[in-house]
């Protein structure tokens, strides 16, 4: 069995971006920069399909 940790690393990176975006959302919300809130919230939501896509691609290779 050939192991590839590319998916794991990519998903870890996606989760890191998730954490950053969530933090930025809360921060911008506190400072009432609502447009910034929307940008980071949208990024956070888009990251989920990306994570799902990475997972599916890895699974289908296996």
């Amino acid at each position: 069995m050939k192991r590839s940790y590319r998916g794991v690393i990519l998903l870890c990176f996606v989760l890191l971006l998730n954490i950053i975006c969530t933090q930025q959302v809360v921060n911008a919300f506190f400072y009432e920069k609502y447009e910034r809130v929307l940008w980071f919230a949208a990024a956070n939501i888009i990251l989920f399909p990306i994570a799902l896509w990475i997972y599916r691609r890895e699974r289908d290779v296996e």
Binding site: V8, L11, Y34, A41, L47, F48, R59
Partner: protein, 192 residues
């Protein structure tokens, strides 16, 4: 469970055939000595299980930002902003530069204070002190808004507290100038 199976298999093979492994030195007819590794839970956190967890976490993060986004949309679209009817406060000719007048806005019991700072410079605040709601006065000599109860002071240009117990700015009343009179058009948000 899988360990039992392995024991079973090993005794079977011991009975049926004699091999070079069956010499009381090597306990099982296998050569990688993994019989002591519990394999029953091995699919619980393997690579794919971990990746599933990560995707689930990404979904959780996505869902968790929805309320923030929803409130931001509400704020941006102005749904949360209250609107108050426009009301005449005073004729400009009745108020000298450096003087102030009290009025009620937006409600009948919401005391407010209009200060004429310059020829064309007017500022109005709801004058309930943000400390304990005492009425705030305009002190022409000191050039600042004064709350006499506990000696709270506010900057007249911004409404921000400058000294004393109050921590929050006075809510500003928005003004417009029409036909030689000052009109109150709305109240800025009370900052908590």
């Amino acid at each position: 469970m899988s360990g039992d199976n392995m024991n079973q298999r090993s005794t079977d093979s011991k009975d049926t055939k004699a091999s070079k492994h069956n010499n009381n030195k090597i306990p099982f007819p296998e050569n990688n000595y993994t019989h002591n590794i519990r394999k029953a839970g091995e699919r619980k956190l393997d690579r794919r299980g971990f990746m599933k967890t990560m995707v689930g976490a990404a979904g959780l993060f996505a869902v968790s930002t929805l309320p923030w986004g929803a409130i931001a949309v509400k704020e941006l679209s102005g749904l949360g902003a209250k609107s108050h009817p426009k009301r005449k406060v005073v004729n400009i000719s009745d108020l000298k530069v450096g003087e102030a007048t009290e009025f009620a806005y937006p409600g009948e019991h919401d005391a407010a204070l209009l200060v004429r700072l310059g020829e064309n410079e007017f500022k109005a605040y709801q004058n309930a002190c943000t400390h304990l709601k005492c009425p705030v006065f305009w002190s022409k000599e000191e050039g600042r808004l004064v709350c006499p109860c506990h000696h709270g002071f506010f900057d007249v240009k911004t409404g921000k507290p400058t000294a004393g117990p109050p921590q929050r700015p006075l809510p500003e009343v928005m003004l417009s100038k029409e036909q030689g009179a000052i009109f109150a058009t709305g109240v800025k948000r009370y900052e908590t």
